[in-house]
Symmetry: C2
Subunit: 164 residues, 2 copies
């Protein structure tokens, strides 16, 4: 995909690359798991965030939550209608519902929720307890999983890898 | 229920009263919906919060999320094992999963998720989209619904009532 991709191209891998860079930044700083996200409106990034569970000692600070907070602060609204999110990992139920409250239109994710198990996170387990059937959620789209698997692998090989 | 209730009494209405006071404080300040929560460990409140969606322009700041953030800050940990939460409204899926990430043991709620419809919030609609069967979630306990319905009624009658 080229940088001069038409602006109406929905699945823009450029934005997933930005989400990966955001996650890598978080890993480098020891802030949390390999989860980064950017929120896009009219082909421009209007919010970004990475997982800060360890940094802030706060289990709610997943990448998507931090990105929603940032986008809402920048746009001065709690309504992100017309925005899409690109996130390195398929959202856990907390983030999935937060994205619904925020009225996010499309959710592009890299690694699947089952991939989180490989790196030791409980997302899929919690999804099973809540019995959420993701096939019925029509605005969830997988994108660029291989690049995100490489990111997860990088996290798995960090010396001070932690889980929650 | 008396203040000298045995410390091992699990469903302590005193804590629900504190959650209601927290919600009333939020309504008075125009911070958000009528949702307050306290987190309790060994019979002491170690975190509290009310909905701040309007105040902070942030759709993730439900009462439970604010209370988790406060409790984790106070205890300097992202793991609230051994803690219970008392919340004026049954948690939406976002908050329910956040409470799981935080390892909260028991969730005591006042109004049911269906009661939220009366005051114009989408909790039950989002729960239906995610198809969560709450009967299967064994640590969810209804407590003191009538007092919380009175709180919801108070919110419904505020002049500048808003929804999201």
């Amino acid at each position: 995909m080229h940088a001069n991709q038409p602006t109406n191209q929905p699945t823009n891998q450029r934005f997933m690359r930005d989400a990966i860079l955001e996650a890598e930044n978080g890993i480098k700083k020891g802030h949390g798991g390999p989860f980064g996200a950017v929120i896009v409106k009219e082909n421009k990034i209007i919010g970004r965030g990475h997982n800060k569970v360890f940094k802030e000692n706060n289990p709610t600070l997943h990448g998507e939550m931090v990105a929603i907070t940032d986008a809402c602060k920048n746009l001065k609204t709690f309504d992100l209608q017309g925005c899409d999110i690109y996130t390195t990992g398929e959202p856990c139920p907390m983030c999935l519902c937060a994205l619904m409250w925020a009225n996010i239109e499309n959710i592009y994710y890299g690694c699947t929720i089952k991939d989180n198990e490989i790196i030791g996170f409980r997302d899929d387990k919690l999804n099973s307890i809540l019995n959420i059937d993701r096939k019925k959620i029509t605005n969830l789209h997988e994108l660029d999983r291989n690049a995100c698997l490489a990111l997860f692998d990088k996290y798995n090989n960090t010396k001070d890898k932690r889980n929650y």
